[in-house]
Symmetry: C2
Subunit: 352 residues, 2 copies
């Protein structure tokens, strides 16, 4: 399983699921999340540069398939991602994905990668990055409501970027909580498995909601959220899917990724279309304040945006040179004479 | 290089450039084009079923990168394709591409394929399919103006689907014509290399224009086109890129793939926005007449549409079972428990 980045422009490095896992483990999960957070932060700082298209969605009764393209002028990237809430009943992932980077100047792909694992990592890194600017200072205790596939990634990212080391877990399914607890048992956390969401939020400066498969659920109600809390709302991410009670939204200062998309997909779909929100990049670039005092309730209404996937692919690409964590794919036809595509096929016949 | 289609849903068959060439050669180029034309024809017949989105383009000074998605309700497909006219100067393809099919019901990809070669094949098969309905009966002589990468594919498709066996070639670069002539020398054609476009069209019942890299070029002027001719205009396929003189368009009955896209990208961008055109699927489905008499000038104003790529991917997929022309890609994370993505990474660590 050795590989070297090909000098041939027609050969594209591909990071398989196995190689992504090995890359993450080789770098170290916390280091990976911290460095990935840095790439996401850098790209948020140059937000204005990006070609920001809303995702292109194909809806069906079972779910949605989306293409999320963006470009910074030098590099173009897109992610394919599906969302099928019923998939878990059949032992499948609700969300899978893959993505690609290519050169804007000639259109040739330069990276092809699995993005099921990478999306989980970038979602967590983005949440932790937002909390770096929004959570109360020295926050070390986080409640995680919803202990499914994304929960451990959130915990690890908040540890890596903020030093959170106390977790209070709750899920309507105790087996999910137990899975999460076990997976994180040797990762340096003090973990409390809780019997209710109300118990879980006690003493937590940060509340992460990351449930799935719910129509207009109310995971958090107003009296559960004390002043000074930072809410990291990850699970509500498509039309009709929200987690927070309307009243919490009215008490909180709300931060989003890309307003036009979040109005449709985020918690703020419950609010008036002109309810004031701040885009996260503004805070990171220093154009808008993050947390301003110890009483403020801050809410990161996360739905995921194309630039975060772009940053994640860019980060993975930066790790490939000299690594063994990719295969070379013969993806692009490259005849000696570009006008002689047909001749290339004829010569393949003679060579066989 | 043996492979078998995996029963694991996380494994996706990938058709590399080499495997695509070998598949085409194994099936036979003419058989491939004829069968592919059949798939395109079948999908045009069920045109109403398709989710028809205009392509999502990212423009730069050097070119364009596009995603072309579509779905028939059961299967979703998209193609990535770039268009960079300057690429040939650097020995690169103007157009490269790859594509994918996935299941609508669960969002999991089922095919990933190179599409540089496949796009050349589907473009030619679509042209020949259109000509089957539009060209004069028993047409056997075709002029090809522009003898670049697409020219031989056009010739082979018209031979396979219509029995065209006389070619009259012209290119402003005689080397391109010579390359085309040589590549087709043992394919059963009577070939005449011509010194001008005017000479090339003499006696041809079908005129294919397939030049590239021109802004509002005029490859054909009005007095070159006699009554009864079918024009297959392939080279004009983006805003600002056309090949035919305006007056020809006014004399011809015009057939397009998808009107909203062709108004922007096709030859008809030169015409008023309400100039009457017929969509090819209407002719194929029997909802509109094709050629009506021997005097009529018909024009297929081809720009390429997502359903054609969908048909091409569907055809390739139909050829894979039992073949050796693919590799299995470990593209989708598939933990035993779908909620335990993090645990899958941890277990990869222990397994290493």
């Amino acid at each position: 399983m050795t590989a070297s980045l090909s000098k041939n422009i027609n050969i594209v490095p591909f990071v398989s699921v196995e190689n992504m896992m090995n890359l993450v483990l080789d770098v170290g999960i916390e280091t990976f999340l911290r460095e990935l957070g840095g790439f996401i932060e850098d790209d948020f700082k140059r937000w204005q540069l990006f070609d920001k298209t809303a995702r292109v969605a194909s809806h069906s009764t079972e779910g949605v398939i989306e293409l999320m393209p963006t470009s910074d002028g030098d590099v173009y990237g897109f992610k394919y991602v599906n969302g099928h809430p019923q998939n878990t009943r059949n032992g499948l992932q609700t969300v899978t994905g893959f993505g690609m980077l290519s050169r804007v100047d000639n259109g040739y792909p330069v990276l092809f990668s699995e993005m099921t694992i990478l999306t989980a990592l970038r979602t967590a890194a983005t949440s932790a990055l937002a909390a770096k600017y929004l959570a109360p200072e020295n926050a070390d205790c986080m409640a995680i409501i919803g202990n499914g596939a994304q929960s451990e990634f959130q915990a690890m990212a908040f540890k890596a970027l903020l030093g959170v080391n106390k977790l209070r877990l709750f899920d309507i399914d105790p087996q999910a909580t137990e899975k999460c607890r076990q997976n994180l048992s040797d990762k340096g956390f003090e973990i409390k498995a809780c019997k209710s969401a109300e118990t879980a939020v006690e003493g937590a400066q940060i509340i992460t909601t990351v449930t799935a498969d719910k129509q207009y659920a109310t995971i958090l109600v107003d009296n559960m959220v004390g002043s000074g809390t930072h809410i990291n709302a990850v699970g509500g991410d498509c039309p009709g899917k929200t987690e927070l009670h309307h009243d919490i939204l009215l008490r909180a200062d709300i931060f989003v990724e890309y307003t036009p998309q979040s109005r449709i997909e985020g918690e703020i779909q419950q609010l008036a279309a002109d309810h004031p929100v701040t885009e996260l990049w503004q805070v990171i670039a220093g154009d808008a304040p993050g947390r301003q005092n110890r009483q403020q309730i801050t809410l990161f209404d996360s739905v995921g945006f194309a630039t975060e996937d772009f940053s994640a692919l860019r980060y993975v690409r930066s790790k490939l040179q000299g690594s063994v964590f990719f295969e070379n794919l013969d993806m692009l036809a490259d005849p000696d004479d570009p006008r002689d595509l047909f001749g290339m096929i004829l010569r393949a016949d003679k060579a066989a």
